[in-house]
């Protein structure tokens, strides 16, 4: 094998990604990679559904560059290693033109080197902790300045002077809280506690005691999954409510509300860029199409919208480039727009993120989320928070 | 078959070897207490190489417990001296390495291993790690001899689990032999054997005892009469009587609690 003699030339040997994508026929393969089994299946299967919807819409409207999409779906099984392995398969064996999916940061981190090594494309549709930018990944979920910082701005505006941070123990909550700490230090908000629980943990009696004891103005909640259920139930049982101490959550979307129990979360706040209740023509169409396909009782959520958007954005990029080739798509990406359910989004070719419109929502009595505050315009993505003074020390 | 290594010729006799420097087992003031209940109470006992000592006494007298204490299975106070070495208070496997071997009231061999493997393992506690890591190419002379002594040559490759009860007990005795223990402690080795098997086993015990320190627990008085060279009687954890079979049998106390038809069992509370 080739030994790396000169580190700078290392990447020249790298481009072994002689693409095997077959563009000769009248169809083109795309890959979906979601956890359809394991603990993450709960969330990721909804993304899979909305990707499927998008693919059908695109095919119905004539496909991409006249070619019908042929979907190859792989199960990430909630294991990062599986994601890496299956991504490899989608690229090398199935020869897909682009891959869509992933949810947890660990799945994305696991796939990143695979896509870079093979010079392929991944569209990642979930809000995440930022501090990343790869030319092989398009990030269509919110980065921190499109979700967390607006939420903090909103809280500050409401007169919040102190915060308690509660999160699951993994990279997104930890990074988010680092940002919150820096923000708070700069804006004079006091952080009265920062607590993490292992993913899936269900006993919050100690934490709610601490929270209650802290008498903070609000709680910033980065818990994930089922922990939210336990947290909100136990939060309520020690007498804390949305009125006495509101909780802002960044991982509770429409589909999680019934599980947490409407009684327990009604009136609490969320921070996302999309809610099912948004009143845009694109969203009306999206929600109607989704319900028509998957059932009237189903709801739509931010990651689903971002996934739906991602497939449409890829289509737009490919058509702008006039080619499925990765480097051409990359080159064409900057400035591509799509009238998404959340509003017009634009790809930033600099960092491969998109503009998004942050919104604070309040959970209503039907379990849907009403917008209580919305950014006046779409916010430019800034994954490394380079434009925020107080964040200078965060990412070295 | 080459010269015997395990069983030199000879006969056991009361008081053991009279010449040379015989090995000995000296138990002094041995006591075992279970949550306050004294199962063994200040027992002192000497057995000299070449003696075939029987330990008898009522059920629950503490016979098995004496052996348990000597072999390190239960904690005990007092002293147990093996030819100048204190062996009490050590771990079970350390005691075994000092030359103390035992059998159990219910036969316990390695059922999933062959007879040969059983013996080989018994023969090998002194082997270095390197020998342990190699496979067995030849059969140790001692193992071969033991197979013959216990009459299981034909069954060497059989799994020990399928042996009949009596054969298992012989295998255990064979394991003691190859283990090369100076002290053999046998707990009811003929239980469940038929008359002629008892006789064979008795003969084997005599041959063994001629060159070792042997202590046998038994209830079958016919067997004791036939083979014992000396007897210790234990009752309620204490030594009740000691001497030749005839002496012990004549002892009124022994008759009362053990032999006779008076039927009073030594209660132990």
């Amino acid at each position: 094998g080739s030994q790396i003699a000169d580190p700078t030339s290392g990447s020249s040997a790298a481009s072994t990604g002689t693409s095997c994508v077959d563009t000769s026929g009248n169809s083109i393969k795309v890959g979906f990679i979601n956890s359809l089994s394991g603990t993450m299946a709960i969330s990721e299967s909804t993304v899979f559904d909305s990707l499927t919807l998008a693919a059908e819409e695109i095919n119905a409207s004539g496909g991409v560059l006249g070619k019908q999409l042929q979907v190859v779906s792989e199960d990430g099984a909630s294991e990062p290693t599986k994601f890496a392995e299956r991504a490899g398969k989608l690229i090398q064996q199935d020869c897909t033109a682009a891959v869509f999916g992933g949810w947890t940061s660990s799945s994305r981190k696991a796939m990143l080197p695979v896509f870079e090594a093979n010079d392929a494309l991944l569209f990642y549709p979930v809000q995440y902790e930022g501090l990343e930018s790869s030319k092989n990944i398009f990030y269509t979920g919110a980065t921190t300045n499109q979700q967390i910082i607006p939420a903090l701005d909103y809280l500050a505006e409401q007169g919040t002077k102190s915060l308690f941070l509660v999160g699951s123990d993994y990279v997104f909550p930890r990074t988010a809280n680092k940002i919150i700490q820096a923000y708070a230090a700069a804006k004079g908000i006091e952080i009265l506690g920062e607590e993490y629980t292992p993913l899936g943990s269900t006993d919050f009696s100690t934490i709610v005691n601490k929270v209650r004891d802290s008498k903070a103005d609000a709680v910033f909640n980065t818990l994930n999954g089922d922990s939210n259920v336990a947290f909100f139930r136990q939060y309520k049982s020690v007498g804390l409510t949305a009125d006495t101490m509101p909780v802002v959550s960044v991982s509770i979307a429409e589909e999680e509300v019934p599980g947490v129990g409407l009684d327990n979360v009604q009136g609490q706040l969320t921070a996302w860029d999309y809610y099912q209740t948004l009143d845009t023509p694109a969203n009306k169409k999206f929600v109607a199409a989704f319900k028509a396909k998957f059932g009237a009782e189903r709801v739509t959520s931010d990651p689903m919208e971002a996934a739906y958007t991602s497939l449409h954005l890829w289509k737009a990029m490919v058509e702008k480039a006039g080619s499925f080739e990765v480097d051409k798509v990359q080159a064409a990406a900057d400035g591509v727009t799509f009238e998404a359910p959340e509003g017009l989004v634009t790809v930033d070719g600099e960092n491969n993120h998109i503009t998004k419109t942050p919104r604070i929502g309040k959970i209503n009595s039907e379990g849907l989320i009403d917008t209580v505050w919305s950014s006046p315009e779409a916010v430019e993505p800034d994954p490394f928070l380079a434009t925020y003074d107080w964040a200078k020390d965060l990412a070295k | 078959m080459s010269t015997p290594i395990l069983l030199p010729d000879g006969e056991p006799r009361a008081g053991g070897l009279r010449h040379g420097r015989p090995k000995y087992l000296e138990v002094r003031n041995l006591s075992v207490s279970f949550d306050g209940f004294l199962a063994v109470d200040n027992v002192s006992l000497d057995v000299i190489q070449g003696d075939l000592r029987f330990l008898i006494g009522p059920n629950g007298a503490g016979k098995t417990t004496v052996i348990d204490a000597i072999t390190g299975l239960v904690p005990a106070t007092g002293s147990v001296n093996h030819t100048g070495t204190e062996i009490l208070g050590r771990k079970v496997h350390q005691t075994a390495r000092l030359g103390v071997g035992r059998t159990f009231q219910t036969a316990s061999v390695f059922e999933n291993l062959s007879v040969l493997q059983n013996l080989d393992i018994a023969a090998g506690s002194g082997r270095g790690p390197l020998r342990l890591l190699r496979r067995r190419k030849t059969v140790d002379a001692a193992v071969e001899e033991a197979l013959e002594i216990i009459g299981l040559e034909g069954a060497a490759a059989k799994k020990a689990g399928i042996l009949a009860h009596g054969q298992k007990q012989w295998l255990e005795i064979g394991m003691l032999l190859v283990q090369n223990s100076d002290i053999l402690l046998l707990d009811e080795p003929i239980a469940g054997m038929s008359q002629d098997e008892r006789l064979e086993t008795g003969e084997l015990l005599r041959r063994i005892a001629a060159s070792r320190i042997t202590l046998v627990i038994e209830h079958d008085m016919d067997f004791v009469r036939e083979f014992a060279t000396s007897v210790t009687v234990l009752a309620a954890g204490k030594v009740l009587s000691e001497g030749s079979v005839a002496q012990v049998q004549a002892d009124q106390k022994v008759q009362d609690v053990y032999l006779g038809s008076s039927g009073v069992e030594a209660t132990d509370a």
Partner: protein, 384 residues
């Protein structure tokens, strides 16, 4: 004696065949992606060889092999991260540390900059941890279910711990994004083949080691300890030592497998070391035949192949299938597939010899040990 020779020759032939298949045929016929996948499966197989020894032979149900696998893997991953950082970044600080941590390499990472230390540590650290644990646990005569559950708890604790140390272990993301392996470019397909070849060679070596151990006196002693630990003491052995030795061997194999897994797969994360992956290691071993030499290897590879093939097409079906595998194989065929020929053979024989009282006896069932497959593993010379 003749039996012995035949056995030896048979083994040698089998070994050669395995070597030709793994080192010659597979790289020649498999596409790069599948070869890398096979390499990953071989890592699981190496773990399985160790489990076969500890569990099948020694009766120690180790539900915590993920810990040792993880140790080996993280050590290797730390080295590769550091090496990449100096080769490509220049700063010498792995990327995730500056993103999520203080940007300073913690002291306990530093030794792993050295390739030599890393290679040693991959073997020694899992071995040492197993030694300490094994002595502590076995000397205190913790065994059976206690041991199983304790080792499971350990795996759980290890995973939780790794997740909690975001800044130094990568947290739940684990360590990934490697570019070089001891100076070899990981993108080069030839180097990937080389990695596969290393894994295959290590597997063959560990099989040879396992065979030697099984057929050695130590192997016999291990069976004795498994079946009647207390009795072994009275023969002058300390069962704790014997068990610890095998436990350490199993741990070292798992550690090496972990270290190979990292460059082959490109990531190690807490999800690969916790309770579930630790149990998953066992399924292949059980299916193949825990007490045999090859059973665990074939089982591990077989299950992994089945999973790769089935799980994406039928994700929920795969879960049922995996569950059923556990249930059916362990519930109804404790000897694993390796016992299948014997089972079939026996059925045939009993039919033909039903009335003969001279039929060879079967051993009494013994607690904790599946007895059916034992037969196949008694050294030939003992049968004479």
């Amino acid at each position: 004696m003749r039996g012995l020779l035949q056995g030896r020759m048979g083994t040698a032939a089998g070994f050669t065949l395995g070597a030709v298949l793994l080192l010659g045929v597979a790289p020649a016929v498999l596409p790069a992606f599948n070869l890398a996948l096979l390499g990953k499966f071989l890592c699981f197989a190496i773990v399985a060889v160790g489990i076969g020894l500890a569990w099948g032979r020694g009766g120690m149900l180790t539900l915590g092999q993920g810990v040792f696998f993880g140790l080996g893997a993280y050590i290797m991953a730390m080295h590769m991260k550091l090496a990449d950082a100096s080769l490509f970044g220049g700063s010498g600080v792995p990327d995730f540390m500056s993103l999520y941590g203080s940007g300073v390499v913690p002291g306990w990472w530093e030794p792993f900059r050295s390739p030599a230390v890393t290679l040693l540590a991959v073997v020694l650290i899992p071995g040492l941890v197993a030694l300490v644990l094994g002595l502590a646990v076995f000397k205190r005569r913790v065994k059976g279910a206690y041991f199983a559950i304790l080792s499971q708890a350990l795996a759980a604790a290890f995973a939780v711990f790794l997740v909690g140390q975001q800044a130094t272990t990568g947290g739940s993301n684990g360590l990934s994004g490697f570019r070089s392996f001891f100076g070899f470019d990981l993108k080069d397909p030839n180097n990937k083949v080389m990695l596969y070849m290393i894994a295959a060679t290590v597997l063959l070596l560990s099989l040879a080691l396992a065979r030697q151990l099984m057929h050695s006196r130590l192997g016999e002693l291990l069976v004795a300890v498994r079946d009647q630990e207390e009795r072994v003491r009275f023969l002058g052995y300390d069962p704790a030592t014997i068990k610890t030795v095998i436990y350490v061997v199993a741990a070292v194999l798992a550690g090496i497998a972990g270290a190979l897994f990292v460059p082959l797969v490109g990531i190690i994360s807490p999800a690969d070391v916790g309770v579930i992956p630790s149990i998953a290691f066992l399924i292949g071993v059980a299916i193949g035949g825990r007490a045999t030499l090859l059973g665990p290897v074939l089982g591990a590879v077989g299950v992994a192949v089945a999973q790769a093939g089935l799980s994406s097409t039928f994700p929920s079906f795969w879960v049922y299938f995996q569950g059923l595998l556990f249930v059916l194989v362990i519930g109804f065929m404790p000897g694993g597939l390796a016992s299948l020929p014997a089972l079939v053979g026996r059925r045939r024989r009993t039919r033909s010899a039903a009335s003969s009282p001279a039929a060879p006896a079967r051993p009494a069932p013994v607690a904790t040990s599946p007895d059916a497959e034992e037969k196949a593993t008694v050294p030939e010379e003992a049968r004479r």
